[in-house]
């Protein structure tokens, strides 16, 4: 039996009592555009920021070129199973790429601890910060963190200019009402906890690869 929550009302009562004390009126808040410069060329900006985030970003012309890039990336990885989001576009891409590896699809469950790479789609790409926005629909939670390499297949029409557009879009579409998880990923896993020296690949992927296909 779970512990009772008798303090809930007590805390709310204390909060309401405290809030009855008047405070100075708020100043008008500056607009978002006062704080952040507008993003002029989203594709170029995304590529620049992604590089700064230590991502590998490959712009491809069409699906066969994307499959070639996927093959090249997978060849650089050690032998072993890969985990792939079960989505029609990724099934087609894998068929073209024919990676000659064991594939575990997200419809079969979570990625195994020993997965060498995960391949997923994204909800959106954010030019302002070079970020990839994923939700649980993109292969689940582990798909973007368990393996040493995360490969995202995306198209250029998924690029949005800034964080605000990505978050308000997700909110309008109810993506977080439908799913228990979302993440704004801005590069490979890293730490600077030892003498502020940057080390890539702490607990999450050391490599983050974006195969970005022209729409």
């Amino acid at each position: 039996m779970a512990a009772s929550n008798s303090s809930r009302e007590l805390i709310l009562e204390r909060i309401r009592a405290g809030l009855r004390v008047p405070v100075a009126a708020a100043e008008p808040s500056p607009a978002l555009s006062d704080a952040f410069a507008p993003v002029e060329n989203p594709l170029e900006r995304f590529q620049t920021e992604a590089k700064a985030n230590l991502m590998e970003c490959f712009l491809t012309a069409d699906a066969p070129r994307s499959a070639d890039q996927l093959v090249a990336t997978l060849r650089s990885l050690p032998e072993g199973e890969i985990f792939v989001q079960d989505a029609p576009s990724l099934r087609r891409l894998l068929e073209m790429a024919n990676p000659q590896r064991a594939v575990r699809w997200s419809s079969e469950g979570a990625p195994r601890e020993a997965s060498q790479a995960t391949i997923t789609l994204a909800e959106a790409l954010v030019a302002q910060t070079g970020s990839i926005f994923v939700t649980a629909a993109c292969g689940g939670r582990g798909a973007s963190v368990v393996a040493p390499c995360h490969i995202v297949f995306a198209t250029t029409d998924q690029i949005v200019p800034d964080l605000y557009t990505a978050l308000s879009g997700a909110q309008k579409q109810g993506r977080l009402k439908q799913h228990s998880f979302a993440c704004m990923i801005s590069g490979s896993s890293r730490t600077a906890d030892i003498e502020k020296i940057l080390v890539q690949g702490a607990h999450g992927p050391r490599r983050f690869v974006v195969v970005l296909q022209k729409s």
Binding site: H179, M184, S189
Partner: protein
Amino acid sequence: MSSSTPTRPVEPLKSGAAPAPTLKILGQEQHADNPAQKFLRDAAQKSADIVHRDIIRRNMESYQAAHERGRARFKDWEAARRRCQEIKREAVNHLDKYLLQFEANVTARGGRVFWAATSEEACAYIVELAQRHKVKTVVKSKSMVTEEIHLSPALEKIGVTAWETDLGEYIVQLRNEPPYHIVTPAMHLMRDQIGDLFRERVDPNLSKTNDPQELVAAAQRKLRQAFFSAEMGISGANFIVADPGVIAISTNEGNGRLTTSVPRIHVAVTGIEKVIPKLEDLATLWPVLATSGTGQPVTTYGTLIGGPRQPGEADGPEEFHVVLVDNGRSGLLASAEQREVLHCIRCGACMNICPVYRHIGGHSYGTIYGGPIGSVLTPHLRGPEFDHLSYASSLCGACTTVCPVRIDLHHHLLQNRRDSVEEGHTAGGGRAQWKIFSKAMQSPRTYALGGWMMRRGLRALYALGLAGTALDPMREWSKKRAQVPLPKQSFRAQWRSGLGGK
């Protein structure tokens, strides 16, 4: 502050044992081995430790450069700060509304929200949950609130092994130390110290090169086993977003991601003040937090979690619990002048800029939250025995200028001092000294007489070779510093004789 606006918690966290024998230090009521006395001793020791100061100086210089680069990426950093201030002001001024909205949204997805008035209640809930699910191993991602409520010792008492998984937290856990800094817990250690520690506690075969890459890999290998064997993951939350009812966790390493993805149960422990109204607010808060915390444009993983695994999702915990901790925070709401202290987003910027923190280090404070924000907050959370921290400041105001939510930190330190005096927590001797000082400062004649007596007296004392003895009033000052040269004339006399004209 009037009695109708209490800022002390209604139920103080520590009921306290019988008072120990009293001493009087710096005008504060002191007890043998009490926090104030310990603070003075540790601060004196650390500020004289040149190696320690050098480590912290290099860390802070590196942070400072990154912070400046980060601020330059904004069109207008001040506008971004003002936006953050208004977001937090809106949230805290309607705290009940937004917390209830958050609770309703999380509950709708099958999550559970527990409201804890005290640290004991928060720990009891999590301990009961762990026992009910027969949890043996817990993985934790960095959470200052779990440090505040002493969660790990509570879990250890029931035989649960709790692994800190943030690298810095893991290092200090291996050393049985509290975090040194809220963002960089092992800032005070050099790689050679960490290498020795890891060879002793993590992997005896680790090479002696102490290459950070190898050290990180060794910790990762060890902690990977913990992630995949733990039944429960415990995280904090940087923000709790009322609409759509998610917690937001910012991490760089990915440990927070694994903690909240792999174990069967996820418990998020967070303060009630972390709430923000809506998801879009993160478009401002995420870049500002990252810039203030580490100088990054944005943290690597901005994770949003609103419930347990939903039908059709590939993975995720079966249970999701959020523990909302009050622990004295609601008491601050009733203070019109100090309510904004609850706006803090725990970025650590005020610590990094603080000249006192840079000299005495994070452990000297003897509290979970150090630096200016800790000195403001701790007396409210833990009672008047921490009033001395409000004096651990030069009042230079640097903290206020860097705070990303524009908390007027140095004035809050002054208000804490005032309240401490008005509530009678200062010793009679201290009050008398300040009265004399106040009188002297308001009377040019008395001030001049005091200066004359001091110059003459000290000159005579030093001529007799009594410098540094018990008779020397400058003894404490001169212990770790060069002796103050005695001027022949007062400043006013020097001014009259031409100094002012130069």
